[in-house]
Assembly symmetry: C2
Homo-oligomer: 423 residues x 2
């Protein structure tokens, strides 16, 4: 029965029940962690063969990968990921170990130099504003904040960002220079941007001639079901719409091989790639091609990556199933929580009774379960409804995910009962 | 006999002789390359064991190096290089594969955010100017140019930058925000900055409160003789002088292990390190710690690095000896060339008859020998005397270095004879 429908006496009973349950949990002295989207040791072990690679040090084109050079990255690795990301190899740059770094470099280049379609460096504009679908990825927002870029939020709908809201923001205001999007199995919602929404975003009129969609396809290959969602082909759509330079695509093997020692990718129009590597050439003599050859040999081809991702799925699917089962069992009838059931990616997005997300995180912490801070999925850490909590179940072993989730649901019910009692 | 002392008839003879020699060389259809300071395959082979490392994936402190995290880099590798660079481990950051990237990040942070001792971001200053000792490293200058930072040159003396010239530039003009320096076995001069000069540079009054010395110690360990030059301890000197945040130190293993797949380092005051990693944390979730553990295991300790560098010396010393011998034999009496005899580093700096450096490079190119473009060692590629040529003998096999150098000396004499005949 929904908590909101209880009589005052029933609610007092529920509050007492949840307090007792919570106190019992606290006594257990747990230390569990659902904060970050990190792969587990078991997942990292899938790529242990990388430690013995590469065999030899010569690329397919004869390049000695140990030496300097090759700004755009190793051709054989770019070919594999070009196929997987649905782009031409010449549109793809293979970089270092972090796609976040490539995103930061892209933004800094836009600020300091302007893009291929800019009238001037963005720093010479009075103001630069980004559209941020929420809930979204906290590091995206922190990066913009650190660069002095203002943020305006739009809702994430079931098929991607609210296109009408985006349209309104970009149509007349030339200070609105770009938007973030995690298009496939988004962080934290698990939502995938539909072909239709992607088509509208790439074609919509924008007051800024150099509007950018930073298309962070971090989870493109991270399916949780056999029904493998296909990412929208944003570069082709943008090209067809006459805005070929609008999207800049990012991806990486961080959650495919080693989170800290993978290879990151950037894709865009040929002009965008030339622009990016042109600026990159001032600050680098080339990426770690040994690691790129290591990865190319490890995967062999695109199917090698797909087969590898299936092994990840086997490990993490039971954890996501446990989250769904426990949320459903404990909160299904409560009327105080909604959550996503993602078909891929790394997160479950949990909306609790408005005004209680911060309290839930605090209660969980006191009971030994670390959750991502409430509000983290919003610019400036500010969730106006104090309702969203991001759950990241990949890192802990299954048994710990189950223990942690039992704590989470207890905290959700306790916080809701507190709130409803107080109101 | 010196070319300048020849009679007109003798000079005509000399010109004819050099033309004949040059034409004979051209007929050989050579393709040789002395352009870049790259290690040779033989040098890269010294580190081949890296391809089978690391053993295991756990750092000394228990960290799984495969996962995210650890912005400042792996403690055991930082310990090794802290000893070698004469700094405290807490003052050292281990990064990605490129110290140039850490330099660029430092400059971009200064521009966008300002330093620990800045009144405002450098971009909010009317103008930012850097002092550039010449001849110097072309990529340093290209980076400043790309960031809109103006450059003023000062001469490199035998003990480092001309301190009096630097003093005059920095004393009254607050737009002069920093200087470059390759302090040990400088690029391309081979000059090492003395303790005395370093002490003066760290202590001198500067109009800018946040003046920076970008101390690119790329060749700190790259000795060509058994008399291993010790780098000035710039951080201690600066600290003692009351300017602890003035130097930012850079180094890397690019010319120790793999040029493209090594580990780069940044050192500075504790505040500088905190400032750098603070900004880094917006664009990275940590460096490639697998590669850092690989390096730590490969070296074992600081002595492991020293022993490894001795093997490099065995390979490259004969190449530097060949350059010296051929320059000396062919140009010793000519009166049209001076050159350095470096005790470390990667370059020989050759000064030819003023007004002929460009011509020498052109002649060499037509004879199949690629040299670094004349002027490359000066800001904006502008050598006002058209006299300096950078020779990089490490990459080609010894026999090719010898062949290429014979071409170079012929071109130097031919260009000089042409010039003197025309004058």
């Amino acid at each position: 029965m929904a908590l909101a429908d209880l009589s005052a006496a029933e609610l007092a009973d529920a509050l007492a029940t949840q307090r007792t349950a919570y106190d019992r949990i606290r006594e257990q002295g747990l230390t569990l962690d659902l904060t970050r989207g990190k792969p587990s040791s078991e997942q990292l072990d899938l790529s242990e063969e990388l430690m013995r690679l590469p065999q030899g040090h010569t690329a397919a084109d004869g390049t000695d990968v140990r030496n300097y050079g090759g700004l755009a990255g190793l051709p054989e690795l770019r070919e594999i990921f070009a196929e997987l990301l649905g782009v031409e190899p010449r549109q793809l740059v293979a970089g270092g170990n972090s796609s976040l770094t490539m995103m930061a470099d892209t933004l800094k280049n836009l600020l300091l130099h302007g893009g291929v379609d800019s009238e001037r460096p963005w720093l010479q504009e009075e103001k630069v504003t980004f559209v941020c679908p929420v809930p979204g990825y906290d590091r995206h927002f922190a990066l913009l904040e650190s660069l002095g870029i203002e943020m305006i939020t739009v809702p994430m709908n079931a098929d991607g960002p609210d296109v009408e809201a985006v349209r309104r923001l970009v149509a007349d205001d030339p200070s609105v220079k770009g938007m973030w999007l995690v298009p496939t199995y988004g962080n934290p919602t698990g939502i995938t941007c539909s072909q239709e929404v992607a088509a509208e975003l790439t074609a919509m009129p924008t007051a800024a001639p150099d509007f950018k969609i930073l298309w962070d396809n971090a989870y493109a290959l991270h399916h949780l079901t056999e029904d493998e969602t296909k990412s929208a082909d944003v570069l082709s759509l943008a090209s067809a719409a006459g805005n070929p330079h609008r999207p800049v695509v990012f991806a990486s093997t961080s959650k495919i091989t080693f989170a800290g020692a993978g290879v990151a990718f950037l894709a865009g129009s040929p002009e965008t790639v030339k622009w990016f590597t042109g600026h990159l050439g001032k600050s680098s003599i080339g990426p770690d091609k040994v690691n790129q050859l290591r990865h190319a040999q490890f995967f062999g081809d695109a199917d090698g990556v797909r087969a590898h991702m299936a092994k990840h799925r086997e490990i993490i699917k039971p954890k996501f199933d446990a989250v769904e089962r426990i949320l459903s069992d404990d909160l299904g009838d409560s009327g105080v929580a909604r959550w996503t059931t993602p078909e891929g990616g790394y997160f479950v997005s949990l909306d609790v009774l408005p005004g209680t997300a911060g309290r839930v995180v605090e209660l969980a912490k006191d009971a030994g379960v670390a959750l991502t801070p409430a509000g983290a999925s919003f610019p400036y850490g500010n969730d106006p409804d104090d309702t969203n909590i991001r759950l990241a179940p990949t890192l802990p072993p299954l048994a710990e995910v189950e223990s942690a989730m039992a704590v989470v649901t207890t905290c959700v019910l306790l916080a809701a009962a507190e709130k409803l009692s107080a109101g």
